[in-house]
């Protein structure tokens, strides 16, 4: 029993790291731009398919990853510039951008299904092998996911620590109107956050594809988990997003092990429901004076 618990914990930490890349991107996009970017799932899936296709064309791991990153980044940029930005300029409300985002997701997913079919695509030369640590088994894919996940997160933290973009993004997230009044280029910060989010989602997509392959509908589940995290953590804090994602993945895996796989999403949305019933502003938020908040 102890071995099973330890194995579930290990699997959750590794999977949580990958999911947190999507969640960080979704949270930053949502908090900075106020766009509930469900099309993040389309960016994720387009990255995954690009990687799989490039690999099948013998472009090699590095070439395929570079191609996937380019496709995802361009797609995120196009979504912002051609859909969200015009909607914002026309001062449409958030529900319109949500529907537009949903539309983008459906279009991209259907286009991919049309091009490549609905079946699951796996890579031709998969990474195999395991490492045994006592009673726990770590696959080589999991090792790659851990190393790449931690490196990506570290790079993102370095970017936030050593650039002014972090403070600018937090300022825009806090109040876009005041940011403009003080001369912060809010358009630039929005573009940056969409590009950064798309890169993170694409890296997560590659890491998942080398493990389980990809099908056109694989992006929605992970995006909804990311969306739940973005609602629960109402602060622009990547560390909190990672911690929450790992805890949520642990809960999902535990429920899956002891009940059934179909309860994974059930537990996610049950937590969201309970959290927002008691704290509408999310579990982690800011303490402001009640008369001024």
């Amino acid at each position: 029993m102890t071995g099973i618990v330890a194995q579930i914990c290990l699997n959750s930490v590794v999977a949580g790291l990958t999911v947190s890349l999507v969640a960080i991107g979704f949270t930053y996009i949502f908090r900075v731009t106020r766009v509930f970017h469900l099309a993040h799932g389309a960016v994720y899936i387009a990255g995954a398919f690009s990687f799989w296709w490039a690999l099948s064309q013998s472009l090699g791991w590095v070439g395929s990853a570079a191609m996937a990153l380019s496709v995802a980044t361009i797609l995120g940029y196009i979504f912002e510039k051609t859909v969200y930005s015009p909607l914002r300029r026309n001062q449409t409300n958030q529900s319109i951008s949500l529907i537009a985002s949903m539309g983008l997701y459906v279009v991209i997913v259907n286009a991919l299904a049309l091009l490549f079919g609905n079946d699951n695509k796996t890579i031709l030369d998969p990474v195999t092998g395991t490492i045994e640590i006592g009673s726990i088994i770590l696959t080589r894919v999991q090792l790659i996911q851990t190393v790449v996940g931690i490196t990506t997160i570290a790079a993102f933290f370095l970017y936030l620590k050593f650039t002014k973009s972090n403070l600018a993004m937090r300022a825009v997230s806090d109040n876009e109107t005041i940011s403009k009044a003080y001369g912060i280029n809010t358009e630039k910060e929005r573009t940056r956050v969409f590009i950064a989010g798309s890169i993170l989602a694409c890296i997560a997509a590659i890491l998942r594809t080398i493990e389980v392959g990809v099908d056109p509908h694989a992006g929605m589940g992970i995006t909804l988990t990311a969306a739940v995290i973005a609602i629960l953590v109402s602060r622009l804090n990547a560390l909190l997003v990672i911690a929450f994602t790992i805890v949520l993945t642990l809960l999902q895996n535990t429920v899956e092990w002891f009940l059934d796989a179909q309860w994974r999403d059930g537990i996610t949305f049950l937590i969201l429901l309970v959290a927002i019933l008691f704290r509408t502003e999310g579990i982690i938020s800011y303490n402001l004076r009640k008369d001024r908040a």
């Binding site: 403070l167 600018a168 300022a171 003080y182 912060i184 280029n185 800011y286 402001l288 001024r292 908040a293």
Partner: protein, 239 residues
């Protein structure tokens, strides 16, 4: 050039109403201009036209020798004009310190390469910004608030910090919408001192204020508006 703002025959009409009619005046550098008038006199619309929130139907706005009529809020802000509303507008989830640095954000070297590699000029710019923020808070006796979250501060403290932000931002012309509203006499004294100090150093202010006594104590010129027009324009003879 001593003139920082010149308004020529400014008009604004919508839905058959003309809240601003043929308004013309100019503002000299390092002056405080007080605008008073009853509700509906056109004061707020005038501010909206200068700051780019609304476009004039007719007339021109010149700032520092350049025409800024009809430019966007961001473009006008980048010229060095800022508007402060009656309610203090800060980044409430950021610390006071971060508010000040954010206000000066675009004044620092911020190209993509600078962001990634943080070259020496950017580091030195950061140091200057931090020193400027410390000096400002110290100058106005607010240094103990530096690490507090802005949203936790009292209304008066938030107002004082919003003035530090405009000083930090390199603002040359500040349009203040009822700066003394809702403040106790002690805070009004502090704020008046801040405005006068900032005026003496480099800044110009145009103020809408219903507290006429307080406004006249610090103003160099007084404009009274009625029904969208300038009724009287007085030099108070202080400068």
């Amino acid at each position: 050039m001593n003139e920082i703002l010149r308004i020529e025959n400014l008009n604004k009409s919508f839905d058959g109403v003309t809240p601003v009619k043929d308004v013309s005046f100019s503002v000299k550098r390092q002056n405080i201009v007080l605008i008073t008038g009853e509700n509906g006199a056109g004061k707020t619309t005038l501010f909206n036209l200068v700051t780019g929130l609304e476009k004039p139907t007719k007339g021109k706005v010149h700032y520092d020798g350049h025409e800024i009529t009809g430019k966007s809020v961001l473009e006008i802000a980048k010229h060095g004009i800022i508007r402060l509303y009656q309610q203090p507008r800060l980044f409430k989830n950021l610390s006071v310190w971060e508010n000040l640095v954010s206000a000066a954000h675009e004044n620092a070297g911020n190209s993509f390469l600078n962001l990634v590699f943080r070259n020496r000029s950017v580091r030195s710019e950061d140091q200057k910004l931090k020193k400027k923020a410390i000096d400002l808070l110290r100058k106005f006796g607010l240094e103990e608030l530096g690490d507090q979250t802005a949203g936790e501060l009292s209304y008066g403290q938030q107002k004082l910090i919003s003035f530090c932000m405009i000083a930090m931002n390199g603002t040359k012309l500040a349009l203040l919408d009822e700066p003394f509203a809702g403040l106790n006499p002690q805070t009004i004294d502090r704020l008046s001192d801040m405005i006068v100090k900032m005026r003496d150093e480099e800044m110009t202010f145009v103020i809408i204020e219903h507290n006429l006594t307080r406004g006249l104590m610090i103003a160099d010129h007084h404009i009274e508006m009625k029904d969208g027009r300038i009724k009287t324009l007085n030099d108070l003879g202080k400068k």
